[in-house]
């Protein structure tokens, strides 16, 4: 319950605070960097440190599958394809190479 309330608060707070403030076109352009920064922040550690410890190694299946997923996403922009390739890469590395 606490987590639900808190999540709602964080989602809602700024939408309301900013209701009072007029956002200029320039600020809108700057806010456009938020998603890029946030998603990078979530992705990079999940690939480089899947177990909370930095693993810059070819034995890190998340890193390899992440690179594969990036390539597929860049070429196709297709979510289903990217997820399937990503998951398959992780599975293959684990099954065939025993990562």
């Amino acid at each position: 319950m606490g987590i639900a309330a808190l999540t709602f608060f964080t989602k809602f707070a700024f939408a309301v605070i900013l209701k009072k403030v007029k956002i200029s076109e320039n600020w809108n352009k700057r806010l456009a960097y938020i998603p890029t920064a946030v998603f990078t922040t979530i992705i990079v550690p999940s690939l480089l440190a899947p177990n909370e410890v930095l693993e810059l190694s070819v034995r890190n299946e998340y890193l390899i599958a992440g690179i594969a997923a990036f390539l597929v996403a860049y070429k196709t922009k297709n979510l289903a394809g990217t997820v399937i390739i990503g998951i398959s890469t992780v599975l293959l590395l684990r099954i065939l190479l025993g990562f």
Binding site: K11, A15, W27, R30, I34, I42, A65, G66, G86
Partner: protein, 228 residues
Amino acid sequence: MSKTDKFLEGFKATVPLSLGIASFAIAYGLLARKASLSIFTLTLMSLLVFAGTAQFLTISMLMTGTPFIIILFTTFIVNSRYFLMGASLGSYSRKWGTRWQILLSFLLCDESYALTIAYFAKNDPNRYYQLGVSLGLYIEWAIFSVIGGFMGSFLGDPQTWGLDFALPATFIVLLVPMITTWKHVLVCLTTAVFAVIGLLFLPTKWYIPFAAVLGTVVGGVLEFWKRK
């Protein structure tokens, strides 16, 4: 275009995302069962919290017997990105009145944010579109959480099926189309560096607000310099 058309357009826009959401929700359901949450509790959590990353974190912390106050605090940190997302969508939603803001804020999630902000950048910012996107994802999230919960007893460990990678893959495919200019590339790279530095030197999950805010500042500064 009528309200219904806009709503349906938003609803349909979630279809390509459904595999990612479904596998993510199923993985959540599986893990929640492993953490001995009942089907009822895990569904309630999906309906009330509706924030995948926060739910996963909560589950993993519940499994390791983390004190409630730490779970709350970590959730707050991970959710701090919604401050920024709310701020960015707030420039549209403030015109629509408080009721709409409450409804759309409750239904806000990473994926609905990404779809909506991308759509609003190119099209008429329509609240019914955002509602369609949000409700589509919300319903799907709830349904597949339940399915995942039921599957929990059959499948066992989601790692065996590689489903643990569904989350990073989903985020990657959401990020890549956003990188449209060299400035976004620079923001990406600097944020990555900040995230790793934060991961190494900051406690727990503090690297998330740290890197996200610094990365956004870098983008803002680049935007400012270009105009001069």
